[in-house]
């Protein structure tokens, strides 16, 4: 017993104070990739390299539609490697959680050279911003429960990668209980379901029953690329894709797996305790300037 106390005293507090203090990230940490759409000379190599289809290219009538979906991205960095022009860069951004699925999608439209590379950017957009539907529920929960929140985690088919990082929320470093948030054994005791995916055919019923057993008001947070969209597994004979294919989702947390701070960010976002992810984080700021120049070059206006 003395040994145990001695050890605890010698270690002291191990807890990191996120989100008050930014986490210590390794210099090498790969967060989400950033896209300088105006400087991007060809999206096809990145789309070909992307293992999950997060970067998709569709050519029609001499125009190219490029879609970037952070809800599918596994942050592997292959798009950066594949794009020789430096228009795609891995960043260390990880606070990507969003209440609106559409906020995770960027689009760009290009005019093309005959060889299929980009001649000019016609338009780009970062998806509509909307009010948080979660906020109302978060307020209801806040009024009812004060600072306490009980989470029931549901693995609806995950590879166990997300579970590892969710378990890490309980360790002394991330210590989610300092927010009054704790994990509970039964959905009947829960205010929030933290669901990983893809939702398999075999887990569909169990997920639905778990959701039905959770008392209102309740929040649902979809975790990881698979929980948001099916990720690398997508939709197939055994997988229904993302969590929102089965139950309504309030907040989406991208990542593969999302690091514990990203999970905390998403959970706190659902509770209305942190500001929404800054959309500009996802884009290189000069994009708009370059965009106007590209428009000028194409249209002469």
């Amino acid at each position: 017993m003395f040994k145990i106390l001695q050890k605890s005293l010698s270690v002291g507090s191990a807890t990191a104070d996120y989100p008050r203090i930014a986490p210590r990230l390794a210099e090498q940490f790969r967060g989400c990739p950033q896209f300088d759409f105006a400087a991007w000379s060809d999206a096809r190599p990145a789309a070909d390299a992307c293992p999950t289809g997060a970067i998709a290219v569709r050519d029609r009538d001499g125009l190219r539609q490029v879609t970037v979906d952070y809800g599918r991205c596994i942050f592997c960095g292959e798009c950066e490697q594949a794009s020789a022009d430096g228009a795609v860069r891995s960043t260390r951004h990880f606070e990507l959680a969003a209440a609106d699925r559409r906020d995770l999608v960027l689009t760009a439209e290009y005019m093309l050279h005959p060889d299929g590379s980009h001649a000019a950017l016609r338009s780009s957009n970062s998806g509509p911003s909307s009010e948080e539907p979660a906020k109302r529920i978060a307020e209801a929960i806040h009024n009812l429960l004060g600072r306490s929140l009980a989470i029931r985690q549901v693995d609806a088919g995950s590879c166990n990668g997300c579970e590892q990082e969710i378990v890490a929320l309980n360790n002394p470093v991330h210590d989610i209980e300092r927010f009054g948030i704790h994990f509970v054994a039964s959905p009947r005791h829960a205010d929030m379901l933290l669901v990983t995916g893809p939702v398999t055919r075999n887990m569909e019923l169990a997920l639905h029953k778990t959701w039905a057993a959770t008392p209102d008001p309740k929040l649902v947070v979809a975790v990881g690329a698979c929980g948001i969209s099916g990720g690398i597994f997508g939709t197939n004979y055994a997988s229904l894709g993302g969590v929102d294919a089965v139950i309504p989702v309030d907040v989406y947390i991208p990542g593969c797996p999302p690091r514990p701070e990203a999970l905390l960010h998403g959970i706190l976002l659902a509770l209305g305790q942190v500001p929404r992810a800054n959309r500009q984080n996802l884009r290189i700021d000069i994009t708009d300037k370059l965009f106007s120049r590209a428009v000028h070059e194409v249209t002469g206006r």
């Binding site: 210590r24 940490f29 790969r30 942050f75 592997c76 693995d155 990082e165 470093v173 997508g234 197939n236």
Partner: protein, 525 residues
């Protein structure tokens, strides 16, 4: 090896049609028909071989047959021996080995479910991979499209065997469990506290992984391999890359071999340390788990420094690794290990100071060595029950042949010894990493890109932290895959948990289960 093959040919002149040595490190013996029983029995009983994996492949288009593959590991020989038994499309049966060799029980039933072949004479031919409420489909047949939309499921998912008697009850648990763990269903038949009989129902997380591999460009398939079992991302990724490298004859540069070794051992240490904490936690020793969680964070921080990912994703690549290390990163390995080693020693001392913890772990959840070898148990669980196997030693890959390490083996087979195997292995892995850092060669970290020849079949095998991970691939045209068979160590180890819990009290199930710590996703794929 040639003499060994000559003996097999002489002994079974009728059955052996040809021997394929195209790919190094493995012999594939084509049989003249679906019956591999005689040769398998000879290898398993007279040659002390071990049946590592049994799986099938649909080659009806082109060859008019399905193939059943039997992968054998023979003591003292690192060359894999693979029997390849054709099953004609007109008569879809093959003789079952399960009655004689129970280790193949689930694997043969998987072949039935995935391909619609019949394992004739199987003592329990019920579905294992497809739940009972699935329609009559066979998803790994080539004519079954990946994106098939199946009708809503009806009926019972699985009929459990009833247990009767005064005071006998069933306790159904899952698939959504109380903790933050993967889904599966456990049906306990209990008489009071002691467990009479445990029935398992897995495959809740089946997500078509092997089907997804089919026709996938190989450079993308590496990432799918990393998602087979998220806690073993690097091990599964490395096993897949090794299979492709063997198939294509790609020479991985020495530096990459050492870097892979270091990362494989870091994955082992990080998972073992969290298991040590979790086992303590499940018998109420919460403070030990808190320390383990803290130490694990140090390791994950190091993993992030070395690969950009806390869980080692996006690093392993065909021909080596994706990113090289600067000197500062290599130094971070040694400085982090120094802290982790000290902290882990303190953690073990704290654990051992608690008599009540020892009481709970000793003689709990015993898996006897005879049962373990009969069921083909591998990895940590096997080594705690006298099964002396370790692919790092028996089928050396990466840089293991250049590095010294000891393989801990115990006979007692209880929770405490599964814990001890982990504690010993953490120590061995630290020495391994230090030796690998000391010998880390200069040079390229990745072989130049290389077209992958089509039609090659090869095995990649890695001793993950749980046990042996085996991938078997067939390459296709245009740098794509035709088939990737994945065998996670958990597949063989799940049935052993049924043996280990028998007669134990229900309250000890969590700690027994944790001491096995098997992968659901790796099993279900």
């Amino acid at each position: 090896m040639t003499t060994f093959m000559d003996e097999i040919r002489q002994r079974f002149p009728q059955q052996v049609r040809s021997v394929d040595e195209l790919v190094s490190g493995q012999f594939t013996v084509l049989l003249d028909g679906p019956d591999a029983t005689a040769i398998a029995r000879h290898l398993l009983t007279e040659r002390q071989a071990r049946l590592v994996s049994v799986f099938a492949e649909d080659r009806v288009h082109g060859e008019g047959v399905f193939y059943i593959y039997y992968v054998f590991d023979r003591p003292g020989d690192p060359t894999w021996l693979i029997l390849k038994a054709p099953v004609p499309a007109e008569n879809l049966t093959f003789p079952s080995l399960a009655a004689e060799f129970p280790a193949v029980n689930w694997q043969e039933r998987e072949i039935q479910d995935w391909f619609g072949l019949e394992a004739a004479g199987h003592p329990n031919p019920r579905r294992v991979a497809l739940h009972d409420n699935w329609p009559d489909v066979h998803p790994l047949c080539k004519d079954f499209p990946l994106d098939t939309v199946l009708p809503p499921f009806e009926g019972e998912r699985h009929i459990y065997r009833p247990a009767h008697g005064e005071g006998v009850f069933h306790i159904p648990v899952g698939p959504v469990h109380a903790g933050i763990i993967e889904p599966g269903h456990f049906d306990f038949a209990v008489a009071g506290e002691p467990i009479l009989y445990l029935q398992l129902r897995m495959f809740y997380t089946h997500k078509a992984t092997e089907k997804l591999f089919e026709n996938l460009p190989i450079h993308r398939a590496v990432f799918l391999a990393e998602s087979i079992s998220g806690d073993s991302a690097f091990s599964h990724g490395a096993a897949f890359c090794q299979a492709i490298e063997r198939a294509a004859g790609i020479e991985v540069p020495a530096r990459a071999q050492f870097m892979r070794t270091i990362l494989l051992e870091l994955e082992r240490i990080a998972n073992h340390i969290s298991d040590v904490g979790a086992i303590a936690n499940d018998v109420g020793f919460v403070i030990a788990n808190a320390h383990a969680g803290r130490v694990r964070e140090l390791l994950l921080g190091l993993c992030e420094t070395l690969t950009g990912s806390r869980v080692l994703r996006g690093m392993v690549a065909i021909g080596g690794v994706r990113r090289d290390w600067q000197q500062a990163q290599v130094e971070a390995i040694l400085s982090t290990l120094e802290v982790v080693e000290r902290e882990f020693r303190d953690l073990v001392a704290i654990l051992q100071s608690s008599n009540s913890t020892r009481e709970r772990l000793e003689r709990t959840g015993i898996l006897r060595p005879e049962k373990a070898s009969m069921l083909g148990v591998v990895g940590v669980v096997g080594r705690a029950s006298g099964v002396d196997l370790d692919l790092r030693r028996d089928h050396p890959y990466a840089a293991y042949r250049h590095l010294p390490f000891r393989v801990p083996v115990y006979q007692a087979g209880d929770v405490r010894h599964r814990l001890l195997v982990r504690i010993d292995e953490v120590g061995e892995s630290m020495q391994l990493i230090r030796a690998a850092v000391a010998q880390l060669p200069d040079g390229p970290h990745r072989a130049p890109a290389h077209p992958i020849p089509p039609g090659r079949c090869a095995i990649g095998a890695v001793e993950g932290w749980r046990g042996e991970i085996v991938h078997w691939v067939r390459t296709g045209e245009g740098n794509r895959l035709e088939r990737c068979k994945v065998k996670d160590p958990s597949l063989n180890n799940w049935p052993a948990i049924v043996e280990a819990v028998e007669g134990n009290i229900v309250a000890d199930f969590p700690v027994i289960n944790k001491s096995f710590n098997l992968s659901y996703s790796g099993t279900d794929r």
